[in-house]
Each structure stands twice: as structure tokens, then as C-alpha cells.
């Protein structure tokens, strides 16, 4: 098995194919999302920001990237 293997995840409700072995931090970088302004929920678990570099995105993960928007 090699790093080029692809994995499938559900990201904010839509299925995506990603290169395997990517960290959450790497994913955010790729998506051009500022890590300081978002929260990542992985399989129902909220990830601490400090853990983004370590945590690897796994095949079958369900990821929610949320942030604050205008609301009353």
C-alpha cells in the first residue's frame, strides 16, 4: 500500500475522495480554510485545534467543518 492510495470521506454532507494519509491540518490548508476560525467535528467528535496536525483523515470519516455566521 502506498501514500497515493485514495480514501473516501463525507465532508459537510458531500462525498469526497482524498489522498490517504492527509492530516486534518493538511486538509484545511488544501481547502484554504483558516484553522483558527473553524471547528472540525470528526465522526461526531469535536477535535481540539492543537490536534489538527497529528490527526489523520481516515477512509470513511464523516467530517463537519463549521464556523460562526450571522444569526439572531
Amino acid at each position: 500500500m502506498t501514500e497515493t492510495t485514495a480514501i473516501r470521506v463525507t465532508l459537510n454532507g458531500s462525498a469526497r475522495t482524498l489522498a490517504a494519509g492527509k492530516s486534518v491540518a493538511g486538509l484545511l490548508r488544501e481547502l484554504e480554510v483558516h484553522p483558527g476560525l473553524v471547528v472540525v467535528e470528526r465522526n461526531g467528535e469535536i477535535l481540539r485545534r492543537e490536534s489538527y496536525p497529528e490527526v489523520r483523515v481516515e477512509d470513511g470519516d464523516t467530517l463537519e467543518l463549521v464556523h460562526f455566521v450571522g444569526g439572531g
Binding site: 465532508l11 459537510n12 454532507g13 481547502l31 480554510v33 476560525l37 473553524v38 471547528v39 467535528e41 469535536i46 463537519e64 467543518l65 463549521v66 464556523h67 460562526f68 455566521v69 450571522g70 444569526g71 439572531g72
Partner: protein, 274 residues
């Protein structure tokens, strides 16, 4: 904007002396107006209106990042969290579970324990599901949240939410976004009389006099969004609301004249010439 603990806003200190501000969880707010950040025609107007409103606490919603975003809708790109206390809400949740999940995401995003708990029970009226709100409040309080609970005008429900440890109880004046104003002053007045945590009227205020008369019931604050966002001139209305909330608070502290069905002259009836 102090942040030292104080019971200033708890109940109301009537009579002479400066009004000491509204204590919510760890914060003491100089302004009794809490502003929503939704539905403005653009972010610039939103920011200017909130500034004009004098609000020190603003509500925000938690939503997915738009990954193929054209426009940047993240509210923190526009509002300085160092300047405003952010109050994440659980708007759009129809169950205790969802509300708890959104509250946790809001805490993670805002690094604050404040949450405006909203569990909707009916899509048409957006009235709360009080039982589910109570369940969610108990969970969140046990997790250390300062829960500001949106509820209906029912005194019994308000007392239960206080018992559950909510930091503030937020009955509505009339349905969210309706602009019907304070429909039932009796209930709001009674809720304020019976609770010791701050009572903040949330939703229904449509114009300045609605905010003013609401504060005259003795409540601790007012939360509004649509009345600002949907005014023809949101910034001007925000200024009006700031003044109206202060006016209503001061009038309540001052103690109004009695109502009479007959007239009483304002000028002396003595000393008339022949």
C-alpha cells in the same frame, strides 16, 4: 466593558444611583441591548448597526463552512471578538440532542461558555419546545455552560429553567421576526417578579417603543435582530433602539406617575387675576 463578577443585573436596583449594568455569566454588560447578526443586507451595514446599537454582546449562529464559497460569510471576518462578547445560538434545532451538539460546536468555535439555547417546537411560529429546552439546559449546565434559554411567556416554564441552572431566561415578546411587540406585558412582568436570574426579552420587538415599553416592565435586557436588520435604515434604527432601551430602563427605575381617567391641571389654580 468590565468582566468582574457582579450581581448588578440580577433583579433590579430601583431608586437613585447609577444603574449598574447587566450581569450574564462572567460578564457585566454596560448595555442592556443584545443584538443579533443575521439578515442584514450586507456585512458593512451589520457592523455599523451593531456599533450604533451600543450592544456589547452579539448572537451568532453555527453553520457549515461553504467550501466552494464565492463570498466569505464567516462573521468573525467582520466582527472583532475582542470588542464584542459572542453569544453562539442553537437556532434551527428541533431536539435537545441537536441543540447540545450545536452548543458544543459553538463553545469550541468561540472559546466561551455562553450559549443562547433555542429548541424550536413548531416551524410556523418558531415557538420553543419547552420540555426539550429544559432537557438540553440541564445537560449544558452540567457541562459548565452559561445557558441563556429562549422560552415562551409561561411563568411556570421560566421558573423551571431557572431551577435548571440557566444563567438567564429569555421569554419572547412575540414570535421571532414578527415585530408585533410586547403582546403580554402581564406575563413578562410576572416572570421578572418571580425569577432572580436576569430576564432578557428575546424576539418580537419591532420598533423603539416596543423596546422601551418592554424595559418598563422591569426586565434586565432585550435581544433583537430583525427590527434592526429589516428597518429601512438599520443604523438609524439601531441608534433609536439603544436610546429606547436606556429610556425604558431609566423610566422603570424612576417610577412612573399614576394613571388617571380624569384631568389634573399642571398650572396653579390659585392666583388668577380678576
Amino acid at each position: 466593558m468590565q468582566t468582574a463578577r457582579s450581581d448588578a443585573g440580577v433583579g433590579a436596583v430601583r431608586g437613585p444611583g447609577r444603574d449598574r449594568g447587566l450581569a450574564i455569566g462572567p460578564h457585566v454588560l454596560g448595555s442592556r441591548l443584545i443584538a443579533g447578526t443575521g439578515k442584514y443586507r450586507d456585512n458593512a451595514t451589520m457592523v455599523e448597526a451593531i456599533e450604533a446599537s451600543g450592544a456589547e454582546m452579539v448572537t451568532v449562529a453555527v453553520r457549515r463552512v461553504d467550501l466552494d464559497r464565492s463570498v466569505e460569510e464567516g462573521v468573525l471576518h467582520h466582527l472583532d471578538p475582542a470588542r464584542y462578547h459572542l453569544l453562539p445560538n442553537t437556532a434551527g434545532c428541533y431536539s435537545a440532542e441537536d441543540a447540545v451538539r450545536y452548543a458544543r460546536l459553538g463553545r469550541a468555535a468561540g472559546l466561551s461558555d455562553l450559549v443562547k439555547l433555542e429548541v424550536i417546537g413548531d416551524e410556523r411560529t418558531l415557538l420553543p419546545d419547552v420540555a426539550a429546552t429544559l432537557d438540553a439546559a440541564r445537560v449544558l449546565v452540567s457541562e459548565g455552560f452559561h445557558v441563556l434559554a429562549y422560552t415562551n411567556e409561561d411563568v411556570v416554564s421560566a421558573l423551571r429553567l431557572e431551577d435548571a441552572g440557566c444563567a438567564a431566561v429569555m421569554p419572547l415578546a412575540s414570535p421571532i421576526g414578527s415585530g408585533l411587540g410586547l403582546v403580554n406585558p402581564y406575563y413578562i412582568r410576572e416572570i421578572k417578579r418571580r425569577l432572580s436570574v436576569p430576564v432578557i426579552v428575546d424576539a418580537g420587538v419591532g420598533t423603539a417603543s416596543d423596546a422601551c415599553v418592554t424595559m418598563e416592565q422591569g426586565v434586565d435586557g432585550v435581544l433583537m435582530n430583525t427590527a434592526l436588520a429589516e428597518a429601512r435604515d438599520p443604523v438609524r434604527m439601531a441608534r433609536a433602539m439603544r436610546l429606547a432601551v436606556e429610556a425604558g430602563r431609566e423610566a422603570w427605575l424612576a417610577g412612573r406617575m399614576p394613571r388617571r381617567e380624569w384631568a389634573v391641571p399642571s398650572s396653579p389654580t390659585e392666583g388668577m387675576i380678576d
